[in-house]
């Protein structure tokens, strides 16, 4: 049986993309799998009694070494902010390419804590900073120093000791460009070194909390139970900075989604599924209910989604247990068709992720297809004709060209870069100033503008002639030729409409990172947790692949 890939005009809608969940394809899970046999080491731990100072951790294999350098600093409670405009953090980190010398550490000590206003070099690969969770950090220290383990209920409400507020890579602030690392044999997909940084930062947070507790009460302090450590991740606060990324990297976005779609298609095409794989799927699904019931947020938007998700996941479990038999042919296709009919988007995508769990033979080869050589697709085929381009747009953007952009609600917002922090922002063009400096992220509107010009142009006219007249549409002409080859490269929604929910774009990207427990704090930023339940470095050699569902 041949199953078709799902329709991009359905899957690439923001409401669907904003319902994506982590899966075996997610980068933090791929990272753990690919680096599990590397030698982990704590190279330096030079903190004072209060936990301030420098620490270095490394992963090593043969001659390759990656070192995380941590700078823990003292800041006042009122200086701690999740916003990107903050200038001080509890700790700042960089992942160094190799073993840093004393001179490197001295240099980085002056630059890394300054983050965006510091200057990094091509020897540094990623950069980040994090703040303590005020709710739990001191509480954990207090408990450990008194010889007791902290209350799990409180910890589970937060899920981490530190929360990062940005993780930079790919040439930002002088960091190494992607071309310097992309061909390394261990770099098998996107964001591997960003994931390494976050993973090692997680370990630093445990070591720091143990160190402070021990310094406070050397005789009675105990270490944080490794089981509790494992149940904690690293928090992350994410704003709009992520949204332009997925618009600006269309072929990369395509490859992420396409791999997910290919995995689903192949799983649906399996005629008979082995018993052990069925068990792995159903057990993961049942265990995962805890992830939903422990998903804490105050966001009405998310609470509603969680409520439907929980209800539909229970409904699915009931269906599988009482009405469904895995003895039928193509059982996962049958389950998928049932999900489409009976459950919400959030549940469909949740189960799609879950379906990948038993099928390493399908998922693993796809992991290495998730990068993209974007330069290859940058040139516009200017010898093609208006007719070609119009056909592409009609085929690939059927809903977009139906939108009426003369209506105020369809052009309400605009994307821009803030001057003080050079960060992307999103605002109401009718209330705020600056829409004349709009970033080229209103793809739907500009595709429609292009389409309107194309339908009144001569069919045989070549694109070079068209562009010499309409250079203002060049960016969308390029995109249209990209989507011709990469059907999942474009969000099939109007990203400047009044009713758009920008965090759906963030959620899409974060799900591919492997984030859990999306906690929207507004429609423009959210908190998440990464590596919660993941093995600790000492346990990497032999860990439970389904750790996400079996914390």
């Amino acid at each position: 049986m041949q199953v078709k890939l799902r329709d991009p005009n359905v899957i690439m809608k923001l409401s669907r993309l904003g319902s994506f969940h982590q899966s075996k394809l997610s980068f933090l899970r791929s990272f753990l799998e690919e680096f599990k046999d590397w030698e982990y080491k704590k190279n330096l731990f030079d903190l004072d009694k209060e936990g301030f100072g420098i620490a270095i951790y490394s992963f090593k294999k043969k001659d390759r070494v990656y070192s995380l350098i941590c700078f823990a600093n003292k800041i006042n409670n009122n200086e701690r902010s999740d916003r990107v405009i903050a200038t001080k953090w509890d700790a700042a980190f960089t992942l160094y390419d190799g073993v840093p010398s004393k001179l490197d550490i001295e240099r980085l000590k002056n630059e890394v804590p300054k983050q965006e206003v510091g200057r990094l070099s091509y020897k540094e690969l990623t950069l980040s900073r994090a703040n303590k969770s005020l709710r739990v950090f001191d509480y954990v220290v207090e408990n450990l120093s008194n010889g007791t383990q902290p209350d799990l209920n409180l910890l589970s409400q937060v899920g981490y000791l530190y929360r990062t507020t940005a993780v930079y890579g790919s040439g930002k602030f002088g960091l190494a460009d992607r071309f310097r690392i992309k061909n390394r044999e261990e770099i098998n997909g996107p964001f591997r070194l960003e994931m390494m940084l976050v993973y090692l930062v997680r370990q630093f947070t445990f070591d720091q909390v143990n160190h402070i507790a021990k310094s406070k009460n050397p005789k009675h302090a105990v270490k944080l139970d490794p089981k509790i450590c494992k149940s904690l991740g690293i928090g992350n606060s994410t704003g709009l900075g992520m949204a332009p990324f997925i618009v600006n990297h269309p072929t990369l976005l395509n490859n992420w989604i396409l791999c997910r779609e290919k995995a689903l298609k192949k799983i649906r095409e399996i005629r008979k599924v082995e018993k052990n794989k069925i068990n792995l799927f159903t057990n993961s699904l049942k265990n995962s209910v805890r992830n939903i019931t422990s998903w804490i947020t105050k966001s009405e938007y998310q609470l509603k989604k969680i409520k439907f998700l929980l209800s539909d996941v229970k409904k699915t479990i009931n269906y599988l247990e009482t009405k469904f038999s895995f003895d039928i042919e193509y059982p996962f296709n049958e389950i998928y068709l049932w999900l489409e009919k009976e459950t919400c988007d959030e549940c469909i995508e949740y189960i799609v992720s879950m379906m990948m769990e038993p099928f390493d033979e399908i998922v693993k080869p796809l992991v290495s297809e998730m990068s993209s050589e974007e330069e290859r697709y940058f040139n516009i085929p200017t010898d093609r004709t208006i007719e070609d381009l119009r056909n592409i747009i009609e085929k690939r953007y059927p809903n977009i060209i139906e939108i009426d952009f003369d209506k105020k609600e369809n052009i309400k917002n605009f994307w821009f870069i803030s001057k003080n922090k050079e960060e992307p922002r999103y605002s109401d063009r009718f209330k705020e100033q600056g829409s004349e400096l709009e970033q080229p992220l209103a793809i739907a509107r500009d595709i429609k503008k292009l389409y309107e010009k194309l339908i009144v142009s001569k069919n045989s006219l070549t694109i070079d002639k068209f562009l010499s007249r309409y250079s203002n549409l060049r960016h969308v002409v390029r995109r249209a030729f990209i989507i011709e080859k990469f059907p999942y490269s474009e969000i099939q929604d109007n990203t400047i409409a009044e009713n758009v929910v920008p965090i759906d774009m963030l959620r899409l990207k974060l799900s591919f990172f492997g984030a859990l427990k999306f906690d929207p704090r507004s429609d423009k930023w959210l908190r998440i947790c990464m590596f919660q339940g993941a093995p600790l470095p000492e346990g990497l050699k032999n860990y439970d692949q389904q750790w996400v569902y079996n914390p």
Partner: protein, 210 residues
């Protein structure tokens, strides 16, 4: 590692900054994207992209330049030098038509170095080397893999006259005998593939686009 190398701008920064500056200088986003890629390419090849772009944009404030949107074999300005960016974009877009002309002449262009990345990419599109010549400067654009030049000085002309661009026919730079000799040697690095190697080859049957 010297202090200078630690202060280098990354190519990503070079591209983003060039793109944004181009937009601010009045070009469309689509053209600005092309300029960003172009300056990144120049800097990657060790050519002074940022310097030339920055000086051209400064010069644009005081001076006028002509846009050459449709390129012919012999292009004459009316009053002002051609804008190198619009010329570069037009060349890139029209290169499949232009290659039939063999040689293209321009009488006057500003900041002629800025044309280089567009010619380099054009060379890749048509699969032909391009020879770019103005005043005492000569460049060989080699399928966007390499830019060769006779001159590598710090002084970059502000205005160039009598410009010539020549398309070079594909031709090996070596004889057949020299090639065969080298190929034979290269065969010593080959491994005879068994059936199991073929089946178990890493990435067999997959797209490797990384």
């Amino acid at each position: 590692m010297g202090l200078q190398s630690l202060k280098m701008k990354s190519l990503s920064e070079i591209e983003t900054t060039s793109k944004r500056a181009s937009k601010a200088a009045g070009y469309s986003w689509g053209i600005s994207e092309e300029v960003g890629k172009g300056i990144r390419l120049m800097e990657l090849f060790g050519l002074a992209g940022i310097k030339n772009l920055s000086e051209y944009f400064k010069s644009k404030i005081q001076n006028k330049f002509e846009n050459l949107n449709l390129i012919n074999d012999n292009n004459k300005t009316e009053k002002y030098p051609y804008c190198p960016i619009i010329f570069g974009i037009s060349f890139l877009d029209q290169v499949k038509t232009l290659e039939k002309l063999d040689k293209i002449r321009l009488d006057n262009i500003a900041y002629p170095f800025l044309v280089l990345p567009f010619l380099s990419r054009s060379s890749e599109i048509i699969g032909k080397k391009i020879h770019y010549k103005f005043d005492d400067h000569e460049f060989l654009l080699n399928f966007n893999v390499k830019i060769s030049s006779k001159i590598l000085s710090d002084k970059y002309p502000i205005i160039a006259k009598n410009i010539e661009i020549i398309f070079l026919e594909n031709k090996d730079n070596f004889s057949e005998t020299e090639w065969k000799s080298l190929y034979k040697l290269s065969e010593e690095t080959f491994v005879e593939e068994s059936e199991s190697l073929k089946k178990g080859a890493a990435g067999a049957g997959l797209t490797d686009n990384d």
